[in-house]
């Protein structure tokens, strides 16, 4: 019986690093796994860039009256740090892991729209590179990631930086919406037989919720940034009060997107945690439906709390009261999740692997961030703390202590599946402790300096305000935090080279991705699995324990099997996978080049030649897009399921 062999190792560890790199199969790929890895690697590079920006800021703030950075450079750095971490790191990292894992979890061979998936990754990269180009062309965006009007108007932000911000994020926004549509259709319509909605792994659930959040939240941001672009390029005055515009409207439009955005950042990570905790506690998740539906609840409530970011602007008592109450209500579904996670570990056979440590770290740090969040939801307290370092502490506890620790948990958990090698557990645990302690050393004192009145986004401060000591401590902590990232990179490198080879199922897990080899063959499943429980692999391995927590579902033995397949397995050749195509990349490149041209279409730099060049870029972009659309249609006909029937 295949079940008994589950310690058997897979025969094909990652071979990508031997010999010359197969560029073509990566650049023209439509395989969700390769696309996922490109997402993950590029998001990690942006993570390092955003980290370097943070380190520069910490050096500047380490001592009072420091002149390491000028005010202008500091503005650019905090804008780019936040923009990078949110749009170019956490979001794409979530999407990357989701891209890799979600189809495997639901027993699919690819995403619903593989070519659209490829377009998303290249468009995301195009947007990210466009954003970073601004450093070379006269200055990065400097209006903060929230881009409050009227700071972003041409007279206050005269470099092209904000234009790069608008169009760069516009491109990543299109990528996100396309990706979200892809996830929605994949999760709803590509599930294996028997994988009903209420049997889906919670990570899949959360990706579904987040995809809906993305398609509902991004349009207002798109409209806001289009209006801002019209202000800057064509003298529109949407957000310029001096000319009849309204700066408040930007804040409302932005936060109507921005608050769901923070749930877009955290919910997939909560999904990862909900996968990892049961595996390393050797128990089913406690209260599956509650965890799933509290995710839906958080997503829904996320749309009616946006103005709690704006108590400081004076919206009046009615609006304040409404948004405060709605914000506090979010604590309920969040608390439900936290209690369910704790109850999952309770009396479980807990194995403290690195992934588990990170998951527990996530819960602990997220609780701290959640509690400071509740204090900020109260307008009187918020009025004291808003725009102070207290808020910086809060947001880093939920975004670093929450999202990023959770992403490391997911990273350690799925790394063997993606690469065929285990990450070194000993180095991993050392890295975890360095990161957890230095994270707290860096960010916990921000509560103190914030409460003592240190405003955020200032590039320096006078000595003797009572902030000196803690700022120095924070800077020291941040260096250890950076060191822990270097340890992680070291771990990845040595593990890829000589790490322990991963079997199909190194963690003794429960979901479908662990039935297939690590890394999986291009077609994932030789036989599409038939699912009859929430934990198909677990129930196959431990039939005597099957049926618990299935609430009256049939406890018929699970039919899933380990598969030991590769590209040459008999029958694998008959599985038709979409063919390689460069069209999505050309299309994305065209849009990026056109966006670059659009930035300079109305700029008074060097006069006419600039405008002609800008126009030229736009035309090249349009030509590339047209060529790509034609190529796309031709390539998609190659894979049409009907092709065989009318020839």
């Amino acid at each position: 019986m295949a079940i008994a062999e589950h310690k058997l190792t897979s025969v094909s560890p990652a071979t990508a690093y031997s010999g010359s790199f197969p560029w073509r199969t990566w650049l023209a790929t439509v395989d969700h796994k390769k696309i996922g890895i490109i997402y993950i690697v590029s998001a990690f590079v942006f993570f390092l860039l955003g980290g370097i920006e943070a380190m520069l800021m910490r050096v500047q703030l380490g001592t009072p009256n420091n002149t390491f950075l000028s005010a202008d450079v500091y503005n650019q750095l905090f804008t780019m740090h936040a923009t990078t971490m949110i749009f170019l790191m956490i979001m794409p990292m979530n999407v990357g892991i989701g891209n890799y894992v979600v189809p495997l979890m639901i027993g699919a061979r690819d995403m619903a729209f593989p070519r659209l998936n490829a377009m998303s990754i290249w468009l995301f990269l195009g947007g990210g590179l466009l954003l970073y180009m601004s450093f070379l062309t006269g200055g990065a965006p400097n209006g903060g990631w929230f881009a409050y009007a009227p700071l972003t108007q041409v007279q206050y932000s005269p470099t092209a930086g904000m234009d790069y911000w608008i169009l760069g994020l516009g491109l990543t926004g299109i990528a996100s919406i396309a990706g979200a549509l892809n996830f929605i259709v994949t999760v709803l319509n590509m599930r294996a037989p028997g994988m009903s909605i209420n049997r889906m792994p919670l990570f899949v659930w959360m990706n579904l919720v987040v995809s809906f959040l993305i398609i509902f939240a991004f349009p207002t941001f798109t409209v806001g940034s289009i209006e801002l672009l019209f202000d800057r390029q064509f003298g529109g005055a949407f957000f310029n009060p001096a000319q009849g515009g309204d700066a408040m409207r930007w804040q409302h439009l932005f936060w109507f997107f921005g608050h769901p955005e923070v749930y877009i950042l955290i919910l997939p990570v909560m999904g990862m945690i909900s996968e990892i905790l049961p595996v390393f506690s050797r128990k089913p998740i406690f209260g599956y439906s509650f965890v799933a539906f509290s995710g839906v609840g958080i997503g829904f409530l996320g749309f009616i709390v946006w103005a709690h970011h704006m108590f400081g602007v004076g919206m009046g008592p009615m609006a304040n009261a409404f948004f405060a109450a709605a914000s506090m209500v979010i604590a309920i579904p969040t608390g439900v999740k936290i209690f369910n996670w704790i109850a999952t570990m309770w009396a479980g056979d807990v194995r403290l692997t690195t992934a588990m440590l990170y998951a527990i770290g996530f819960i602990s740090m997220f609780i701290i961030g959640g509690i400071s969040g509740i204090t900020l939801a109260s307008p009187p307290i918020d009025l004291q703390q808003t725009d102070s370092y207290y808020v910086v502490a809060h947001l880093h506890y939920v975004l670093f202590g929450g999202s990023i620790l959770g992403l490391f948990a997911g990273g350690y958990y799925w790394f063997p599946k993606m690469t065929g090698r285990m990450l070194n557990e000993r180095i991993g645990k050392i890295q975890f402790w360095i990161m957890l302690i230095s994270f707290n050393v860096t960010f916990f004192p921000m509560h103190f300096v914030g409460t003592e009145g240190m405003p955020r986004r200032i590039y320096t401060y006078e000595a003797g305000m009572g902030w000196d000591m803690w700022n120095f401590v924070e800077t020291v902590g941040s260096f250890f935090l950076a060191f822990s990232i270097l340890v992680f990179i070291y771990n990845v490198i040595i593990s890829l080279r000589s790490g322990e080879v991963a079997s199909n199922d190194p963690w003794d897990a429960a979901t479908l991705e662990w039935t297939i080899p690590s890394p999986p063959p291009s077609y994932n499943f030789l036989h599409i699995p038939v699912v009859n429980s929430r934990r198909p692999l677990w129930d196959a391995k431990y039939p005597h324990a099957a049926g618990d927590d299935h609430h009256g579902e049939s406890s018929a033995p699970s039919l899933v099997r380990y598969e030991y397949t590769d590209e040459d397995t008999a029958g694998a050749k008959e599985i038709h996978m979409p063919s390689l195509t460069f069209s999505p990349m050309i299309l994305s490149g065209g849009l990026t080049i056109a966006a670059l041209g659009f930035i300079y279409i109305n700029k008074d730099i060097l006069g006419l030649p600039t405008r002609m060049a800008a126009l030229g870029f736009i035309l090249i972009g349009i030509v590339m897009v047209s060529v790509a659309i034609r190529g796309w249609i031709v390539d998609s006909r190659k894979d049409s399921p009907y092709l065989g029937q009318h020839h």
């Binding site: 259709v185 709803l188 319509n189 994988m195 398609i215 509902f216 309204d246 599409i528």
Partner: protein
């Protein structure tokens, strides 16, 4: 629907187009996209309404509203014609879809061409309207000139942004319609043709739907 009949030939749940929910993947994706676009246009329309209310309040306070209401720019005649064109194109579109499902390709080509022509007429009509308004004094600028008086108002900015983006969607829709026309002509026997037509049809009706909202909220009220 041709796609359905293939569902059972392949491995269950992995049928090429019809999946675990029993619907066509592309159609589901397009409907979700339309849902997203609804929010996009709502944000644009809301912007226009907010600033029009403000202009109205300011002009009313100075007693000039009846005289200087920027709605005077928007002639009802041309707009009604445009609304009728788009509505008619929705009808021809659905007739083209019905013909494609009945495999009456002659009829299909006629109705799809009619949709393309009506759609193009709408774009041309809007281009005419824009140039006309521009000459009359409504520009993409935070003031407009009406009967020699300059009024500080965002009416022009919000109006052109909103209707411009709608026009852009109509234009892309026409391009898509043309692409489907040629695709169906080249692969007349392809069983996925009705779905290709249905998809562009859904998008086209949505664009019409946005115009229904703009026509009422912007031109009539």
């Amino acid at each position: 629907m041709s796609a359905t009949s293939h569902a059972h030939h392949d491995e269950a749940g992995q049928a090429p187009l019809v999946g675990s929910l029993g619907v066509d993947s592309r159609k589901l994706g397009l409907w979700a996209f339309i849902g997203s676009e609804t929010l996009f246009f709502t944000a644009l329309i809301t912007t226009h309404l907010i600033f029009y209310a403000r202009t109205k309040a300011e002009l009313t306070a100075s007693g000039m509203f009846a005289h200087l209401d920027p709605k005077h720019f928007l002639g009802i005649n041309l707009t009604s014609v445009l609304a009728a064109i788009l509505l008619a194109s929705s009808l021809t579109m659905v007739l083209a879809l019905a013909a494609s499902k009945a495999k009456e390709w002659q009829k299909f080509r006629f109705w799809l061409l009619a949709t393309i022509i009506l759609g193009s007429s709408f774009v041309l009509g809007q281009a005419y309207e824009f140039t006309h308004l521009y000459e009359e004094g409504l520009k993409l600028a935070p003031q407009f000139v009406f009967e020699g008086e300059t009024v500080k108002s965002l009416f022009g900015v919000t109006f052109f942004t909103m209707t411009g983006f709608h026009g852009l969607h109509v234009t892309l829709g026409v391009v898509w319609l043309i692409a489907v026309y040629f695709k169906v002509r080249k692969f007349a026997a392809s069983p996925e043709n009705p779905m290709d037509v249905e998809l562009v049809g859904l998008y086209w009706h949505f664009v019409d739907l946005v115009w229904v909202a703009i026509f009422t909220l912007i031109y009539l009220i």
